[in-house]
Symmetry: C3
Subunit: 276 residues, 3 copies
């Protein structure tokens, strides 16, 4: 069976300099089936990624999976195991405003320009993840562990790639802790990477969302500190979302990004988002 879903949004974005209209509309295909023996299988990709999802050894979009009692095995443009376990902070704005709340990862999510494999297994509150590339373009792998304890959740991941700075090996250890405290849900992320060739990257941040009926207010603080030319970047975001029901929300946000070499910039957006 092939089913359709979609999302769309429209509004205005100010990148710190110019105010522009910004809109998009997308459709996703979800393919699902089941073998006689009870294994689930499927695939998914967006209509605008249809060419990249038909890429064979060069697939850049979409993913295919088979799952059963053994866990879930996915191939394609899938998240690396570290990202699957740790994830990102909560972002703000109807467009994401540069997605500075996202965690930096060395592997997965299309970084390889070719399909990788991700394996996931969940037993009760514990989830384990492993991922690897095939080594043809780049040789990498990652491991991840997720644990839920009541209203709290924890994640830890490790990544290794031979495609670090100047072609050197690179590794990354990253962890998160999150929880729900009444009307507030919060998450912290900390990561330490050896980028290769003697350079390091440290990232850490916190996001929190306060919810009251249809309203949600989110704030985040994120630092990515490197000792190479990219320097240290601090991003602070604040946003709000109001649920109109039926899949529609009004969302707006403001993000200040301060780089030690490039200086600081404040962007904001306001718009409506729809899911179908």
């Amino acid at each position: 069976e092939v089913t359709l879903s979609g999302d769309a949004r429209m509004g205005i974005v100010n990148d710190g300099d110019t105010t522009e209209f910004s809109s998009r509309a997308r459709v996703a295909f979800t393919l699902s089936g089941e073998t006689d023996g009870g294994l689930s299988f499927g695939a998914s990709f967006r209509a605008d990624n249809a060419v990249g999802a038909n890429g064979n050894t060069d697939t850049t979009d979409g993913s295919v999976f088979i799952s059963g009692a053994f866990g879930k095995l996915s191939m394609g443009n899938v998240a690396g195991a570290a990202e699957a376990a740790v994830g990102d902070l909560s972002g703000v704005g109807y467009t994401g405003l540069g997605d500075f709340s996202d965690t930096v990862y060395l592997t997965g999510d299309g970084a390889e320009g070719e399909p990788i494999v991700q394996y996931a297994y969940t037993a009760g509150d514990l989830s384990v993840y492993a991922s690897a590339s095939d080594g043809a373009q780049v040789s990498n792998y990652a491991l991840g562990l997720g644990y839920k304890m009541g209203d709290y959740n924890f994640g830890i991941g490790y990544e290794s790639t031979d495609d670090g700075l100047f072609g050197d090996d690179a590794t990354h250890v990253v962890a998160s802790a999150g929880g729900t405290f009444g009307a507030v849900s919060a998450k912290v992320v900390y990561g330490q990477a050896d980028l290769g060739s003697g350079f390091d990257l440290t990232q850490y941040g916190l996001s929190a969302t306060y919810s009251a009926d249809a309203l949600a207010v989110t704030g985040y603080y994120k630092v990515v500190d490197t000792d190479f030319i990219a320097g240290e970047t601090t991003a602070v975001g604040l946003g709000a979302s109001y649920d109109l029901g039926g899949g529609a929300s009004v969302k707006g946000g403001v993000v200040n990004v301060d780089n030690e070499f490039l200086g600081d910039n404040t962007a904001y957006d306001l718009g409506v988002t729809f899911s179908f």
Copy 2:
């Protein structure tokens, strides 16, 4: 909800020189929803435009809307307000044969290469339209008014852009009148544009369609007269359509285009069109 529709056609086209097979098949996605408060929202784009519809500040295809008692607000590749009010003459042929029956507009329909906004409000027989770009690439706006009176309808529009000839400002006033007279429906369009840098464009034309059961015969006459290098172009078209039912029609047409500098050329086509 995401729903699918489609269209297809096949036949032969002679461009005045060579006779060729011409076929196409397309699918459109229509996304629709409703908020708890009763606002309608949605989006639409074709599968072949999926990449352009995911363009954010550079969206070139598809559109997103929200509507309610306040009217309808659309963003993306939408028609400018003048086009929304005035429209085009009726075309001929299964391919349109160059679409010389279309009215020339300065704004909208993707001319900006980025999303614009169109607002539409209808109260009884009166419709008002306003549209504008965000000014980041090009700064333009348009206004339109449509009025129905029994079997007759009238439209008038005004457009302004800072992206005229040689970067000068340009404006356009355009109007239409149409009506149904028994088995015949007809429309006239007249437009006068200051293209900037001292150049003008005048366009006028008439189309009429005679319908008898499944048969429809359409003719049009359209002149676009400029005082710059494009000169004056006169297009005369005649076509017929026979409805086979179920969404299928046989269509054919012939169009003669005469440009004062390039001379004249006659193209024709014959084919079947399908809607799904």
Copy 3:
């Protein structure tokens, strides 16, 4: 009506040198309708081919058809009449491993880079096919005949093009015979082409599939012998497929390709395939 279907696959491929992950996911649109007079019409194309299916005189993907008592007339990227009658040998592997079991044709299947027309008519056990390009880019045509006799089937085709080697005319006569013998189905193909400019191509091969419940084992042997620089190529393939039900199969194959100038190479793959 527009309906969706899909396919996906994932696994590993070794091209004789490197082992790589290979995955893909695809969705196909099928458009169908019926006229009041009972003619069927429709179109089909894949989401990743949506742009090519909207090509008019340059359509490279997808096809449109109308059918009735007179037969079926298709336009677009359709098979030439020789291919429609004769087809290919059975391939192996979850990716096809280079599709060396495919028959070489001079016309159809997108070879023209523009739409061609195919006409098919079936009366009982006999099917006749004719196809032609419009002559704008390349001038070609083909004829085909298929006949079924109980468990046996036969096909013969003739192709002619003015786009042979070095722009010379080329022709091709190709035939097949197939049958089912208990648990085994087999097919032979033989073709003889005058490629133009004094060069010839001879192709012949055999494929056989043995089926037992969910298991199918396929082998093929195919030779393409030319007297120009491509030389003689012999491909031998062996593969197996196990049906998991619900549209899922495990498939694997190995193919040895031996070219008289380039030497020989062995590729293999193993993966799962899904249909939705």
